[in-house]
């Protein structure tokens, strides 16, 4: 693989996956959001969203808090400090990748 495309393989795959990227992008814009909001935003089913959140939590990128509002269970997700840093690093890598791709000339 040639530069700068080799750099794509180095992107954080946990962050790069589209559904997780949408979740992380949303959480980067707020203090916390509940499960229902993230579900409507991403269009994921409950099971898929739970699975993505569990993966993000396992990598300590998000913090999940479960509680009750009356009798209804409430699940809230928030970015951890590490998660915020990962999102910022990802965007900076993507910007750099884009810059390099625009300058790239195929070897003759």
């Amino acid at each position: 693989m040639t530069e700068p495309f080799a750099q794509i393989a180095e992107l954080d795959r946990i962050v790069h996956e589209p559904a997780r990227l949408a979740i992380l992008t949303a959480l980067a814009a707020c203090r916390h959001a509940d499960f229902l909001y993230l579900q409507r935003l991403t269009g994921l089913s409950k099971g898929n969203l739970s699975s993505h959140l569990a993966k993000l939590e396992a990598h300590e990128l998000v913090h999940i808090e479960k509680s009750f509002a009356g009798r209804s269970p409430v699940t809230r997700a928030a970015l951890t400090r590490r998660g915020r840093a990962a999102v910022e690093r990802y965007w900076s890598e993507m910007a750099e990748l884009r810059r390099r791709a625009l300058r790239w000339q195929p070897a003759t």
Binding site: P18, T25, C30, R31, A33, D34, R40, T42
Partner: protein
């Protein structure tokens, strides 16, 4: 899943409260009632004007709470990042609201040939649109409409001063109601209903 535009995801989450358009409808209705209480055809004795306005205010507060619960139940909850909009809040309270109030006072007291309130409120509406995620073109329509009212006294639509302010309040009330519904439809398009299965 859909592949949502990430800027839009960020923008809507960041401004989720402001996209909950139905919250604007009671405010718009209250402004329409306020305007109507000054109209010549208003059927209720003007001695009860205060009672009517307080009632409208109370109904608006109750409705606003109910609408907030509806949004939380249907679209979920988002807690804003602390201090994320400190600059916007400062400009709103120290510049926009005082300018909007001052323009009404000037138009009521000085009665200039150009309706200043229309221009100031148009600028405030544009700033609101810009600072709350853009993407909702009806606020650009509202900006143009409010700006156009600057010429209405000169065009004979209403006499300068109180009559023009009254007409403007009705225009703002109706615009709030329409824009509120359009905001809501935009939010529904952006956050469509949930999947029912785990496919």
């Amino acid at each position: 899943m859909r592949q949502p535009d990430l800027d839009r995801v960020h923008s809507i989450t960041d401004n989720f409260f402001f996209w909950q358009g139905l919250r604007l409808v009671p405010v718009g209705a209250a402004l329409l009632v306020l305007s109507a209480t000054y109209a010549s055809w208003w059927p209720i004795d003007r001695r009860f004007q205060g009672v009517v306005l307080v009632t409208v205010l109370l109904v608006g507060i109750v409705l606003s709470g109910a609408i907030g619960s509806y949004y939380a139940r249907t679209f979920g909850r988002v807690a804003a990042a602390p201090g994320a909009h400190a600059r916007r809040s400062t400009i709103k309270w120290l510049v926009a609201y005082p300018a909007m109030a001052a323009s009404l006072l000037i138009d009521g007291a000085v009665r200039p040939p150009i309706f200043i309130t229309g221009i100031v409120w148009a600028a405030a509406t544009l700033a609101y649109w810009w600072s709350t995620g853009r993407g909702r073109p009806h606020y650009l329509g509202a900006t143009l409409l409010f700006a156009s009212t600057a010429a209405w006294p000169a065009l004979g639509a209403a006499a300068r001063g109180r009559a023009m302010i009254n007409l403007f309040l009705a225009v703002v009330g109706a615009t709030y109601m329409i824009n509120g519904v359009l905001d809501h439809l935009e939010l529904r398009r952006t956050l469509p209903p949930l999947l029912t299965s785990d496919d």
